[in-house]
Chain length 101, copies 2
């Protein structure tokens, strides 16, 4: 039986998860993440390997950073992006396993 409090918790979880999934749910963002899962990359490296404009790439990266999916470190004039969240690594592994073959 569900108390009012547990209903609130469930709804809150749904909102959080929905936001994360929304941040994932774009073909190019998934592709970017796929590349980052193989190791950190600069924006330029991603630009070469994904087929996407510099501007949009930068916007996608900053959105995913905002949502906590990825993070970055600066080195000179380069930004190295990487997957920050262990839960996401796990989730992406399952997605690849289930949907990519």
């Amino acid at each position: 039986m569900l108390t009012e409090l547990s209903v609130k918790k469930i709804k809150k979880s749904c909102e959080e998860v929905a936001q994360i999934l929304k941040a994932l749910s774009h073909p190019q963002r998934l592709l970017i993440l796929g590349h980052l899962l193989a190791g950190e990359k600069t924006v330029g490296e991603l630009e070469d390997v994904c087929d996407i404009s510099q501007s949009q790439l930068s916007q996608f990266l900053s959105r995913m950073k905002l949502e906590g999916l990825i993070d970055r470190r600066k080195e000179g004039r380069f930004q190295y992006y990487f997957v920050a969240d262990e839960r996401l690594k796990h989730l992406m592994a399952i997605i690849q396993q289930e949907y990519c073959r």
Copy 2:
């Protein structure tokens, strides 16, 4: 090393996965799915338990059905909806395990 063919495959996978994740990425659709994972439900049952209008519920259900996430069977004037896809069950289990506690 990536051939042109394998790049195409990867892009196609990303599109498919993005579409599925997009269909998932709404708090109320996740809530609906959560309830359906516990067993099939009529639209009316879902309406009671989710806080959502009949019209929108019906639209959400038909969208998720279209994307292949759920299916339904008719019994008299009731429609019983259920989770159709084993991959989705697995994915949802991981999501709950990672993000809901």
